[in-house]
Symmetry: C2
Subunit: 621 residues, 2 copies
Amino acid sequence: MTTSLRSTLDFLLYDWLQTETLNARERFADHSRETFDAVLDTCDRIAREKYAPFNRTVDTQEPHFDGERVTLPQATQDAYDAYAASGMLSAAQDYDIGGMQLPYTVDAAANAFFAVASISISSSLLSVGNANLLMVHGTDVQKQVFALNEFSGRFSGTMCLSEPQAGSSLSDVATRAVPDEAPSVAPDGLVPWDQDPLGPRYRLTGHKMWISSGEHDLSENIVHLVLAKIPGPDGKLVPGTRGISLFIVPKKLVDTEGQLTGVRNDVALAGLNHKLGWRGTTNTLLNFGEGKYPVQGRAGAVGYLVGQPGKGLACMFHMMNEARIGIGMAATMLGLAGYYASLDYAKNRPQGRLMGASGKDAGQPQVRIIEHADVKRMLLAQKSYGEGALALNLFCARLVDEQHTGQPEAADEARLLLEVLTPIAKSWPSEFCLEANSLAIQIHGGYGYTRDFPVEQYWRDNRLNMIHEGTHGIQAADLLGRKVLMENGRGMQLLAARMQATMAQAAAVPELAAYAAQLGDALQQVGAATQAAWATGNPAEALANAVPYMQAFGHTVLAWVWLDVALATLRVDATLSVAASAGRMGAARYFYHYELPKIAAWLNVVNGRDMTCAALSEEAF
Amino acid sequence: MTTSLRSTLDFLLYDWLQTETLNARERFADHSRETFDAVLDTCDRIAREKYAPFNRTVDTQEPHFDGERVTLPQATQDAYDAYAASGMLSAAQDYDIGGMQLPYTVDAAANAFFAVASISISSSLLSVGNANLLMVHGTDVQKQVFALNEFSGRFSGTMCLSEPQAGSSLSDVATRAVPDEAPSVAPDGLVPWDQDPLGPRYRLTGHKMWISSGEHDLSENIVHLVLAKIPGPDGKLVPGTRGISLFIVPKKLVDTEGQLTGVRNDVALAGLNHKLGWRGTTNTLLNFGEGKYPVQGRAGAVGYLVGQPGKGLACMFHMMNEARIGIGMAATMLGLAGYYASLDYAKNRPQGRLMGASGKDAGQPQVRIIEHADVKRMLLAQKSYGEGALALNLFCARLVDEQHTGQPEAADEARLLLEVLTPIAKSWPSEFCLEANSLAIQIHGGYGYTRDFPVEQYWRDNRLNMIHEGTHGIQAADLLGRKVLMENGRGMQLLAARMQATMAQAAAVPELAAYAAQLGDALQQVGAATQAAWATGNPAEALANAVPYMQAFGHTVLAWVWLDVALATLRVDATLSVAASAGRMGAARYFYHYELPKIAAWLNVVNGRDMTCAALSEEAF
């Protein structure tokens, strides 16, 4: 499995994205293909040793809560420790805080090995995102005390947005934060709430739902980043998202050196969610400030304000965008895990005979199922979904590097392209790599439906990705309602220009010219649908079919990615890897023959601002 | 849930299929809408009391095998007993063997209540199919001893086709059957093997995989119907499917009165399969004749030949066709179960605000999620898939009645239409009602991913249906490779004529005329694709894209069903049920706007006999 993945990553990183050219930039000057390869090698090895063998273990030994402590399999602790020891938590950080100054592109590629081995053990995503947020929005002390300890693995992190009654609707956050006036609980002595060295100190009360890694003993401490509202002078919460502030709420209180003070904060696990999959990671309902662990005799979870009051959501979005690309990568790697498993099965399982020109099969020898056309179709679909999604996600990672280290104009373009592509990078793999997992089950036949083979777990694990970090519907509304419109449509124009550049190259290659034309047509259709959706300027009409729009948009983006990957495939010396090149060209062809034509049906309803669903009365269902 | 289902069944049975007109036929002369309704009422009640409350129980308390006995939850026994007591096992049979002479259409509709309540408790399908096969192909004694005891519920039945090494490839069956020469084990004394009153007596040895209900104590005995090969004079098995014979292999030996003789037959449970879903039904690997339960001191499972040697597969196909329609119905009812659950959730869960013309939402009151356009889209898709599939399956059931009780010409047409429609009735719900279940999860958001709500189980349970009783790929090869060609394409022509008749009616209705034209176009496209696929006469080319062909064919059939249902909706007095009529018209519109346009992409590759997948070398994957 990891051999195939490694060769695909090598091609995408070096031949396609030319990641080595980043080394010309000052930040990455110490790096080379050798240092990149060393990181990939290390991650591949740790993932094979500490993750892959325990993927089924963490599924069957679900987290257990006895009312006081959460029990996880020993394998989870071992994997956590090995990952922290590898330095990957801080790989992209500056040297001066212990990082490797690794390009994010390589960081993302290296983390793919953990995701493909066991998606639900590898829950480091949130700790890194949490710490990254603090590096941007936190004070120096907050960075030192919380972020750096997350990068080292001493502490882990969560993001606490949703509440049981509000789900995706953040404007309805009801968690309250009031100044922690007296007596002081500052770890370093009596300090007024607004002079606490860790940040303005509040007491929080409320419930947070769907909190991944919300309770465990894997790390010394857990750093919760919590959205809450500070009541106005009338004691009421500001309606809408404007009133939301962001707080650091550690599970255990710490001093300004980051040492535990021995005082448990008033954050209690109300219960674990029992999930369909992704069971290696705890998912929790947390009660903040209910008084189970009173601090200095009083209920209320101690929290330190991050950034300005009322600006919490903007800070959190920083973390959410990273998380969304991370989810796209998770969905992608589950899709590829299923592909590798079903490819292996198809190569080894003998069954049936070839359909000869005569249509008769008796008497011929049995063949392995990879020789059947329909099995090949299901394999090529998976390859096309999984490797295409991987390319898109690495392209997005490359844009992150460009945004952070490129020249100002290029950095700004990268930022805007990322805005447009993030909903696709999250939603497309979540939908189509899930479909890939279903095909992997199908190839296994009855065996795929048993727990003796890994593919049913991939499918269950992957079903989460269309839900968390913004559902499919929310991604679609973000894309059509915000991203394609922002800055007068400049993001969309930038994306179109990138596609045009690829098409121009491909038009000159006989093998790809027809695909270039097909992509041009698709792009034109998406552009026309965008106009048609907004022709009346009424969001209720424009967004009624936002999901089919996103599906068509996503397929068009993936078609572009595959055309660009095909160009790179033809550019490299194909004699070096005849089979791999043939595979990539086959997957690209598959996408143009079988997939891209699907956009017409999706755009049909967008173009007509079809209100068949939206206008149907509730009673009619 | 069952209120909605009942009103949908009433509409489809009485207003659409006009099932009451069957009562003019002699076989059904004692029946009336009142007797039909009484059966529906009874099944609805038993399903609500004995099935629905235990659907999660049978999922969490998976069958357990301690090496001797299989343990199932008590609820499974209670459900089995209640079902047997209801008389539904023999409802369609003749009065003189204790049946009700109920039309199969009503029988299928009544069984829908059990399927929607708990698909995996309700595993009576195989017993009825098994007994039906014996009623057609068995001797009088075999009917009396085995079939009638299955209809009463005393015995239950299985079908044993697959083997661990062969799966779908029946020509590779390796189970051997040799005459049971001496000493005799005939229950009624010393009888030569070829004069046994229960049928020519053989000893079987071999392994059968994926046997549902293969071992349990729910009934007094289990009647296995087993495919095996009788060696030729040279001791070798005939290759291919021609050598296959069919045997009755009871778990416990019985006398000619059907009484247990106290002798256990040599059939042993080798192990239970641990599945992704459908856990209320045991699924087993059975060892025949390995000597664990020697009969008269010798290894070898005692089996009685059914029909002629070498003709076993033809007999078994009788059972398989029924089973395939049964699977379509199972998939359908899981799809509808998810629809009802997510509809209920959407009507009660408040979250978010409406997207006003201004695009702003703060300050407005929260709404229930059914008011969001994207949630309505996901609900209407489910309704359109589930109710459309239900209509198709009931239409097929009505064809069964026509085949059995119609005038000769109509009966023959029904037979041939069933041949063509069976792969669609099985495959289409398996694929699209599974998608419906995924949408039901999506509507629930994070809650849908937990085991606190039923939708994740529906999705897991439903994933089996694309696999068992002939995989998707096998249905597709059957459709394009056999069914549309048989009798010079007459089945396809009959289907087209039915569609044309619907279109002619719809063309005269302003509201439906455009859909009639759209369906005509789709039918023309499917016809052209059928021609194009076979243009070279090479099965390898024709069938390379059999699955996309089947998807397009299925969508076209469903579009026809919805157009016909829409006509019936307009025909009935809409004032009687304004909301239900609006719902059916909405679902029909949804299908034409959102679904039918998808066929172009599927047929694209069929028309081109696209070999992108089939021609890709194994090394390229």
